[in-house]
């Protein structure tokens, strides 16, 4: 029993690693971004380029994961930087720019209303500059299947849990930063992330027990079996 649990945990971790394999050194990047924003607010025009270089890849990846549309993601990133630029004179001394930027782009994406229209990950979104060290067909098939299962498990999560989980696990934000982005308390972030992780682990365990289930679960809007909801809101 204990071995089975460990196996499940390892697979969940592997799924998360697969989904966030291009994650950078986010902590150092955040402090560099904060410094660049501070310099930009103080009048150093060139610092905006540094700020863009630090934040744009992360914001773009976040928007792309959210919208599944390259043009929408680029529009959201551009708008976010314009909002940051417009608030330059109001930027608080020593403030953190990363949670603020994520809060802005999240709001823009919510306003765009694209959250409800998630499309399946299209393979043409792959970066043309990605290294093409082609794995064997079996490996590629396995990787794609695990990715698809991980994406589907994520899609099953309630939006509030998924947002907290994605920001902490994929974007590498701290609990405090995630709390700022979402406008909730740190304790609530911990609870949501924990519940999301537990739900993913549970989904994985269920699939391992019953491999045929992956063929039957096709409605990403429906709650997974056993999950409790009150008036449509996850508890």
């Amino acid at each position: 029993m204990r071995n089975a649990c460990n196996e499940v945990s390892v697979q969940v971790v592997a799924q998360v690693a697969l989904l966030s394999d291009d994650r950078s050194d986010v902590d150092a990047g955040a402090s560099r971004a904060d410094g660049a924003m501070d310099r930009y607010a103080c009048g150093d025009e060139a610092a905006f380029v540094d700020l863009y270089d630090e934040l744009a890849p992360r914001l773009h990846r976040f928007a792309l994961r959210w919208t599944r549309s390259r043009s929408a993601a680029e529009d959201a990133v551009q708008q976010t930087f314009l909002q940051i630029h417009a608030a330059r004179h109001r930027f608080v001394r020593g403030g953190a720019v990363t949670p603020w930027a994520y809060a802005i782009i999240r709001r823009l994406l919510l306003d765009l209303g694209r959250r409800g229209a998630r499309e399946e990950l299209r393979h043409d979104l792959r970066d043309a500059e990605e290294p093409t060290t082609a794995p064997s067909p079996d490996e590629a098939l396995h990787r794609r299947r695990v990715e698809a299962e991980a994406q589907r498990d994520l899609a099953f999560l309630p939006p509030a849990w998924r947002e907290a989980f994605e920001l902490v696990k994929f974007e590498g934000l701290s609990v405090a930063e995630t709390a700022e982005v979402l406008g909730i308390t740190r304790g609530m972030v911990k609870i949501r992330t924990f519940r999301a992780t537990a739900a993913l682990r549970k989904a994985m365990a269920r699939r391992l027990r019953d491999p045929s289930e992956r063929m039957t679960r096709s409605d990403p809007g429906a709650p997974p079996p056993g999950e409790t909801r009150e008036k449509g809101v996850p508890t």
Binding site: Y52, P57, R88, G94, E129
Partner: protein
């Protein structure tokens, strides 16, 4: 997946075409606005009661024992200070406090003001009887000034929950208005407190929410 280079060029070109001044120290302006708001509230307290044929200023509250008046005032000031501290982004952040805190302020301020005043009912004999509509009107007339100062101090940027932030600021403005109105009104009877002191704070909170959605929301540039 990295963003394309064309996006970077587009962003840099757009911000070059829309110059924004560098950071300015907002503290002197904020303090100036707070002082202006205090002066304006005092002026309203002095002159607005005359519209209803009443005595303006603190002389109107002469029938209340000084000690009770001081305690009531001290409690209201403490509430106004703590709600200001909770609702404004004093911390090193461009974002306002969590939604739960803002909702707590928006709901808690009217309730606590009412509870605090009713607590003093029976501690002294009310000098006269009024329904409370004068206090209601004076509160509404006094509130725009602190709200304007608070809206400036809040940096007018809230991409997450502008309505809740506005509601909290409306409640905080109401708390500071309550301080001024308590200088004028000596009554602590239940009906009067409900109509004259709690109801206007609820109205201010709702008005703040409506204004917040318009003022603090993100606009496409």
């Amino acid at each position: 997946m990295m963003p394309p280079e064309s996006l970077k060029l587009r962003v840099l070109e757009t911000i070059r075409q829309r110059p924004v001044p560098r950071r300015t120290d907002r503290l002197p302006t904020t303090i100036g606005l707070a002082v202006l708001a205090a002066v304006a509230m005092s002026a309203v307290l002095q002159w607005a009661p005359r519209l209803f044929g009443e005595v303006g200023g603190v002389a109107h509250a002469a029938g209340r024992p000084a000690a009770c008046g001081a305690w009531i005032l001290a409690g209201t000031v403490a509430l106004a200070l703590s709600s200001t501290w909770l609702a404004l982004p004093f911390r090193r952040s461009m974002l306002s406090p969590p939604r739960g805190v803002l909702l707590g302020v928006a709901i808690g301020v009217p309730l606590l003001v009412g509870a605090w005043l009713v607590l003093w009912h029976g501690a002294y004999a009310d000098p006269f009887t009024r329904s409370g509509w004068r206090c209601f009107a004076i509160t509404i007339l006094t509130a725009p000034w602190p709200f304007a100062a608070l809206a400036y101090a809040s940096r007018r940027a809230e991409p997450r929950h502008p309505g809740t932030a506005g509601a909290a600021l409306g409640a905080v403005a109401g708390a500071w208005t309550a301080v001024m109105v308590e200088l004028w009104c000596p009554l602590a009877v239940h009906d009067h407190v409900l109509i004259g002191h709690v109801l206007p704070l609820v109205v201010l909170t709702l008005a703040g929410a409506a204004l917040g959605v318009r003022m603090f929301r993100l606009r496409r540039l």
